[in-house]
C-alpha cells in the first residue's frame, strides 16, 4: 500500500469485519478545486477509503501473505456528500473469502447517517493470474500501513 487514506481502525474482528475512521479536512488541497466554493470529498476517494479498510481486513485474514488487489466494484451507491469536518466511519465485512479472492460489503456513515454503500471484490493476484508472476515482496502491504493496525482494537472471533 503506497499511500494511506484512512486515519485509524476502531474495530477489527479478524477475518470478519473492520471499522475505520477517515476525517475529512479542508487542508486537503483537492477539496479547494472540488469544487471551488463548495468543497465535497470526491466519491472515488470514498471508494478508496473503503478499499483500504476492506483490503486490510482481507489481507489480515490471510496474515498478509497474499497480494490483495481491488478487482471489482460490485456495488456503489452514494446518498449524501462528505464535507470538510465530517468524520467518515467505514464499516467493512467479509462476505466470502477463498484462496483466489474475497468479496466484501460495506457502508459509510457520518454521525450515524448512511452516506454510501460500497461492495467490493479483491483478488489474491498470485493465485489468480495464470502464467503471470509478480515480485516476491508484498508490494501491497508495506511497512507503511502497519502503523495503522498498531492502534487498532482487535477482538478475536469465536
Amino acid at each position: 500500500m503506497r499511500w494511506i487514506w484512512i486515519d485509524k481502525f476502531v474495530e477489527f474482528r479478524r477475518g470478519v469485519s473492520a471499522v475505520s475512521i477517515k476525517n475529512v479536512t479542508l487542508s486537503e488541497e483537492h477539496l479547494h478545486d472540488h469544487f471551488p466554493g463548495y468543497p465535497v470529498m470526491p466519491e472515488c476517494l470514498i471508494i478508496e477509503a473503503m478499499a483500504q479498510t476492506a483490503g486490510i481486513l482481507v489481507g489480515e485474514a490471510k496474515k498478509f501473505q497474499e497480494k490483495v488487489i481491488l478487482a471489482k466494484i460490485k456495488k456503489c451507491v452514494f446518498f449524501e456528500c462528505a464535507r470538510p469536518g465530517d468524520t467518515l466511519r467505514l464499516e467493512a465485512k467479509i462476505e466470502s473469502i477463498a484462496d483466489e479472492a474475497a468479496s466484501t460489503s460495506g457502508k459509510v456513515t457520518v454521525e450515524g447517517k448512511v452516506i454510501a454503500e460500497i461492495d467490493l471484490m479483491f483478488s489474491h493476484i498470485d493465485q489468480n493470474l495464470a502464467g503471470k508472476s509478480f515480485p516476491e515482496e508484498n508490494f501491497v502491504f508495506t511497512d507503511l500501513f502497519k502503523s495503522l493496525l498498531q492502534g487498532a482494537v482487535f477482538s478475536e472471533t469465536e
Binding site: K72, K74, S96, S123, N128
Partner: protein, 131 residues
C-alpha cells in the same frame, strides 16, 4: 425442499444480472458468459461467491470453471487446439456442459463459449440433487 429447474434458472438469472450488470432479458439459457454477457475473469469468482450464497452450496471454482487448469497444462493443448487427452479431461471436469459442438473444432479460443447460463443451471441442479 427440491427446487425446480425453472426456479434454479430464475435464481441463476438474478445472480447474472447482479454480477454482470446485464438486463434480465439478456440472460437466456444459451447466452455465453464471456461472449454474450461480457464476463471477465474476476466476474467468474464473483459469480461463484454469489451462487454459493444464493443456493447455500459450496463451489470449488475449479469445478465450475475448469478452463484455467486445462490451459496451463501443455499436454492438453497442441496448435491452439485441445488434444484428445485434453478433451477427455474436459468431459470429465465439465459433465454439466454440452461440449459436442466444441469437440468438432476444439479451438481453445472457443473454450469460453462453453460457459453458458444453461451449464451453470445444470451444475447447480446437480449439486442440489447430490446434497
Amino acid at each position: 425442499m427440491a427446487m425446480s429447474r425453472d426456479e434454479i434458472f430464475q435464481e441463476v438469472s438474478e445472480v447474472m444480472v447482479e454480477a454482470l450488470g446485464v438486463d434480465d432479458d439478456e440472460v437466456t439459457a444459451t447466452a455465453t458468459l464471456m461472449g454474450d454477457l461480457g464476463a471477465e475473469s474476476i466476474d467468474f469468482l464473483d459469480i461463484v461467491f454469489r451462487l454459493e450464497k444464493a443456493f447455500g452450496i459450496k463451489i470449488a471454482r475449479e469445478e465450475l470453471f475448469p478452463a484455467e487448469s486445462l490451459l496451463s497444462n501443455p499436454e492438453f493443448i497442441s496448435n491452439g487446439k485441445l488434444t484428445e487427452v485434453g478433451l477427455k479431461e474436459l468431459r470429465e471436469k465439465m459433465p454439466h456442459t454440452d461440449i459436442s459442438t466444441f469437440e468438432g473444432d476444439p479451438d481453445i479460443n472457443k473454450l469460453g463459449n462453453l460457459f453458458t447460463v444453461d451449464a451453470i443451471v445444470n451444475y447447480v441442479e446437480g449439486k442440489l440433487n447430490a446434497a
